[in-house]
Structure formats: C-alpha cells, structure tokens
Symmetry: C2
C-alpha cells in the first residue's frame, strides 16, 4: 500500500489536485513508484474516506475546476506510523529476463533487438535523471534533510538505470560474440 503513502508524502510537501499529483509523479517519487491518474483519483477518494486528506473545490477560469487535497492531522499520524513500520524488500520484475531466458526457443536475433531497444529506453531515462541531478542538486555534498533525501532517491533511480543499461550491454555483447545478428 505504498501509493497512499507516496501521495501523503507528496501532499505534505505541497497540497495539490489529483492531476497535479499525477504530473509530480512523472518526476521524483515516480522513479520508485509510478501511478496513472486513474489510480491516483481513486486512491485520493479512498484516503478522504479514511480521513487522511480533505479537499476544497477550486474554480479556475479557462480551465475545469479542481479539487485541491490537503493532508489532515490523521493523515500525518498515519504517515509517521507507516514510516516507522518495516516493509518487505522487493524482488526484481522484468519481462525482458523471461524473454532472454527463452531466447533459444524462438528468434534469438529478435530478442537481441529487443534488448537493444530496452537499452536505448533505459539510457534515455538515465540521461534524464542525470540532467535533473545536475540541475537541481549541483552541490550534493552540502545537502541535508528533505533535499538530501530527494537527492538520494534520484540517485537510486540513476543507479538502477545505469545497472540495467550495463546489463543490456553485457547481454548484447555476449549474444553478438555467440554469432547472433
């Protein structure tokens, strides 16, 4: 149940509408927990039922009204509770590994192309993350508190993407030298 808590974190930092949260998630927390707007709207409603957040309707001109959510006392209590609670370490989950594992049962060359495609995609993400790091945290050694934590989360994203790209390179090289084209 991390989405609830990811939203609590995000809303504690700054109140916002479902739509805005969805946009924020594309960056930042989204490196570790992606979510669609549907999911976010639904969860926000559930959170309101639980009393963790409240909303106020805000009229805008030229745009549809929005519901701005804000964390309640109970929400802050819940967030601290969750933060202190242990969670299960995650296991990797990537279809590409399954494909590679079955490569010899089909068109190995097609799997190789797929690995290259994923490599490109992850390399792009890596570049995006690195650019954000340079732009938003030019002096990482001086950070502390919330900013430091944000930076470290970004570092996690960078490390994960880097490691995936390196793995793809290893795979491509190994398949190539086996004669796959």
């Amino acid at each position: 149940m991390a989405l609830e808590h990811a939203l609590l974190v995000s809303l504690t930092e700054r109140e916002g509408s479902g739509y805005e949260l969805a946009r924020r998630f594309d960056r930042s927390i989204g490196y570790f927990w992606a979510a669609t707007h549907q999911q976010i709207y639904r969860v926000l409603r559930r959170m309101e039922e639980s009393g963790w957040v409240t909303h106020t309707e805000v009229a805008q001109d030229g745009r549809p009204d929005k519901k701005v959510y804000r964390v309640s006392k109970a929400g802050r209590v819940e967030l601290t509770r969750w933060l202190a609670e242990p969670i299960e370490p995650t296991t990797l989950r990537d279809e590409l590994g399954v494909k590679l594992r079955g490569a010899s049962l089909g068109d190995t060359a097609a799997v190789l192309r797929e690995v290259e495609r994923h490599r490109a995609e992850h390399a792009t993400r890596l570049e995006v993350y690195r650019r954000i790091a340079r732009r938003d945290f030019p002096k990482p050694a001086k950070l502390n508190g919330r900013e430091l934590h944000q930076y470290l989360v970004l570092r996690g994203g960078i490390r994960a993407e880097k490691s995936f790209v390196d793995w793809c390179d290893e795979v491509v090289q190994a398949l190539r030298s086996e004669g796959v084209r």
Copy 2:
C-alpha cells in the same frame, strides 16, 4: 502477461507439475519474475483452456498425485510469437524509495534502520546468486545457447542486487554524515 510465457519457457525445457514449477521459480526465472503456487496453478489451468499445455495425472506412492504439464504445439507457437513481440520497458517499483523520500516527515533514524535491513536482505540474495553463478557457470566465457542465456539472466539478478546494495550503502553513509543515528 509474462507468467504464462515464463511457464511456457520452463515447461519447454522440462515438463513438470505446478508444484515443481513453483520450486523451479524460486531459482532461475524467479530472479526476474516471482510467482506463488496459487498464481501458477491458476495460470496453468487457464493455459490448458487456451490449449497451450496438456496435463497427465501421475500417481505417486507416499505422496499426493500430481498433474504433469507439457507444452502443446499451440503452446510452442504462442511462445515464439511472444518472443518476437516487443514489450514495455519496466519502471522501478520499490517502497523503500517512497519511505526515504518521506523520511524527514517521520523518524529518520527508523528509516535508516530500514535501509540497513534491506541492505542486508539484498546482500544475502546477492551472495546466493553469486554462489549459484560460481557453481553452475564456472567458465562463463565458454557458454552458448540456452546455458549462456541462463547465465545472462543470473547476471542480471546479480547486477540488480549489487546496485541496490551499493545504493543502500550510499544512503546509509549520507544519512550518517548528516547526523542520523
């Protein structure tokens, strides 16, 4: 829909019962796609409805009967089809990042302990994977075909765990030097 195909890969290599597949998944493909026995039983039934596998009931003495599944012609066709098809690159999904991101809103020291706990868990997995690599693939440079692909999948697991452990170390160090205990 990778579980179906993971099972097809596994069953193509060797026929087996749901239970056996669950055991096999604990190693090997499980590094990239974990599954519980419930999930496997259910999916096997669905796959049989689709005509991808057939089963024969096998009586055993001293143990319950088992249903041994085997891939059909249609199953092999489906597997090759899927192998040639592109899939979406995955995004990271780890609650720990969410917690870290929210650390300053609760007990940062507790989050630090949690990171250390996850570090230990992932380090253990890393050791397990490395041991398997040494035992099953002592001469990786000489591999090709299915064995090479198996090895590369394992390498992916190793890289992912290594990168996670390193990240945890970075986080622990950073939090420590900010004074968190």
